[in-house]
């Protein structure tokens, strides 16, 4: 977010473009003042910022304690680099070896051990709830976008079809979805359709999002198709193509290029709207954030982090779309 601003300032300094970079500097100053205001405000309510507690909810080092499954005696400990191999002789004269991290060895050679005594530990990196939530939000939105695009394409084509029933049905669908809140739709999908059709919460969540997005995508696609000059369809038809062929080869490729920006906006909205599925207990980024807060009480920090993670997802998406747009611009 801020990097383009700094980039502007740097460019201004390098190119001695005093006028532009001083304005950018002013922007930075205002942003800084706002940040300082926030800091002062939190000082007043005695909030303890504990940013150091946040990283462990992304990734954490999980300790696996190794214990002896029988009574026995330690015969030898071989150290090799960071790991140690502990050999234990059981009462039945079996020798069993255990590999642990060298620093964590808690026994000595010839020490007598009882069943359940700990020998040492190994560590593995585990994904924390925030990263897991980010992943769930990512694939949930991706799946909903894909289905939303398919639903939107079909509905958009029905919307401009010459068949009256198809047209009326698509208008009916679009009006119902656009006229009701997404939150209510999610509840209906989960509690009503979920019960009647016996679908899981994930399927209910993705369907609600996809059908919601589909209504908006349909209108975008309709507008895109209608923005292509009539002559294109006439030219295609006069070459002997039927309507589906003309759509696939001539109209849709051109329409797609035009609707990419509004479509991108719609999918960015979808990523943000996906936070609402946390109300039906899908552990997405928002719900993960709430769960972390209940165990840390670092309310402010976690919500800021959650917002930042959503921002990360949406800005990556808009960069990708901008790249596709540039690729498609070759024929302009």
């Amino acid at each position: 977010m801020l990097s383009p601003l700094f980039f502007d300032v740097w460019n201004g300094i390098v190119n001695k473009d005093l006028k532009n970079w001083s304005w950018t500097l002013l922007t930075l100053l205002i942003l800084f003042a706002m940040g300082a205001g926030l800091w002062v405000a939190t000082k007043k309510i005695d909030y303890n910022w504990r940013w150091n507690r946040v990283p462990q909810y992304f990734l954490y080092h999980n300790e696996n304690v190794k214990t002896v499954p029988f009574d026995g005696r330690v015969t030898k400990i071989d150290q090799a680099g960071d790991t140690a191999t502990i050999s234990v002789l059981s009462e039945d004269d079996d020798v069993q070896t255990f590999v642990v991290d060298a620093e964590t060895v808690r026994v000595e050679v010839n020490e007598d051990l009882f069943e359940g005594d700990s020998l040492g530990s190994t560590f593995t990196w585990r994904i924390g709830p925030l990263l897991h939530g980010l992943w769930v939000t990512l694939w949930l939105s991706a799946a909903a976008s894909l289905f939303g695009l398919i639903i939107g394409l079909i509905t958009g084509l029905c919307r401009i079809s010459s068949n009256i029933t198809l047209r009326q049905l698509s208008i009916f669908y679009i009006e119902i979805i656009r006229g009701t809140p997404l939150l209510v739709q999610i509840f209906i999908f989960y509690f009503f359709l979920g019960t009647v059709l016996d679908i899981s919460r994930i399927v209910a969540g993705i369907s609600a999002l996809a059908i919601f997005a589909g209504a908006y995508v349909a209108e975008i696609i309709r507008a895109g198709i209608q923005s292509i000059p009539k002559g294109q369809m006439e030219a295609a038809r006069s070459l002997g193509m039927n309507v589906p062929q003309a759509m696939i080869y001539i109209i849709l490729p051109q329409a797609f290029k035009r609707i990419l920006p509004p479509l991108a906006g719609q999918f960015i909205s979808l990523i943000k709207d996906s936070s609402l599925v946390s109300v039906i207990a899908i552990t997405d980024l928002t719900k993960s954030g709430r769960e972390v807060i209940t165990s840390t009480f670092a309310t402010f920090e976690i919500w800021f982090i959650v917002a930042l993670l959503y921002l990360l997802l949406t800005s990556v998406l808009s960069q990708v779309i901008a790249w596709v747009e540039r690729r498609l611009a070759v024929s302009d």
């Binding site: 030219a235 295609a236 038809r237 070459l239 002997g240 070759v330």
Partner: protein, 244 residues
């Protein structure tokens, strides 16, 4: 080749009924070049668009190579591939290169292989004199070049008839000549052509027959000599006085 019998086309909109084509009976023989002229709004373009089914006719009959377009069982797509059309606004596909514009319909409609379609496409681009532009996108071409590509695109389908809907009206004056030259060449090769145009010079030089339309009706019909020198109808006389 083309027979139209009492062709009528009415548009209904905003409470008004417009008789764009009002009972036109005319025939085009194989290898004939027919030029349709007339004032704006006389229904000549609509008449032309009816000939390949871009407009559905309100009543009457059109037979193209023996197939009745008014018959509901007729597959219009099959008729259209035999009838090439060139538009006033070129209507090239802007997202495809020049060569792709020529290749696409050949592959999709005629089911030709890419190699065959490209060979045919290059041959035609050479014929209309823009072989070197095959990799360009239409937007980078001048109007005249675009229209020549559009003619080549229609020819790639190997149509039996070519329809031209004011092919030079959207062009800058200095580019009109190059497009007319291509059309004259086509006429010399014996292509059956129906041309709606305001180019009286072209009509005089190339046409086998001239049709004069006004208010949706076929007012006068005859050879160019007859039409330009000795028109019978008052409206035709008036029109010629204004344009010549």
């Amino acid at each position: 080749m083309i027979k139209t019998v009492d062709l009528k086309k009415t548009f209904v909109g905003r409470g008004q009924t417009v008789h764009a084509v009002d009972g036109v009976t005319a025939h085009v023989k194989k290898g004939e070049v027919v030029v349709i002229i007339g004032p704006s709004g006389s229904g000549k373009s609509t008449y032309l668009r009816c000939l390949n089914g871009l407009e559905t006719l309100s009543s009457g009959h059109i037979h193209v190579d023996g197939v009745d377009l008014a018959d509901r069982k007729t597959d219009l797509n099959k008729v259209r591939r035999e009838v090439g059309m060139v538009f006033q606004q070129f209507n090239l596909f802007p997202h495809k290169t020049v060569l792709e514009n020529l290749v696409l319909a050949q592959m999709v409609v005629r089911k030709r292989s890419r190699n065959e379609a490209e060979r045919k496409g290059r041959e035609l681009l050479k014929k209309v004199g823009i072989a070197e532009k095959e990799k360009e996108y239409p937007i980078r071409l001048s109007g005249g070049q675009q229209q020549r590509v559009a003619i080549a695109r229609a020819l790639a389908m190997e149509p039996k008839v070519m329809l031209f809907d004011e092919p030079t009206s959207a062009l800058d004056p200095e580019m009109v000549g190059e497009v007319l030259e291509v059309m004259k060449q086509l006429a010399r090769e014996g292509m059956t052509m129906v041309v709606v145009t305001h180019e009286m010079g072209f009509a005089r030089e190339v046409a086998d027959r001239v049709l004069f339309m006004d208010h949706g009706k076929l007012v006068e019909e005859g050879t160019p000599e007859h039409f330009f020198t000795n028109p019978q109808e008052e409206r035709a006389q008036l029109f010629l006085k204004q344009v010549l």
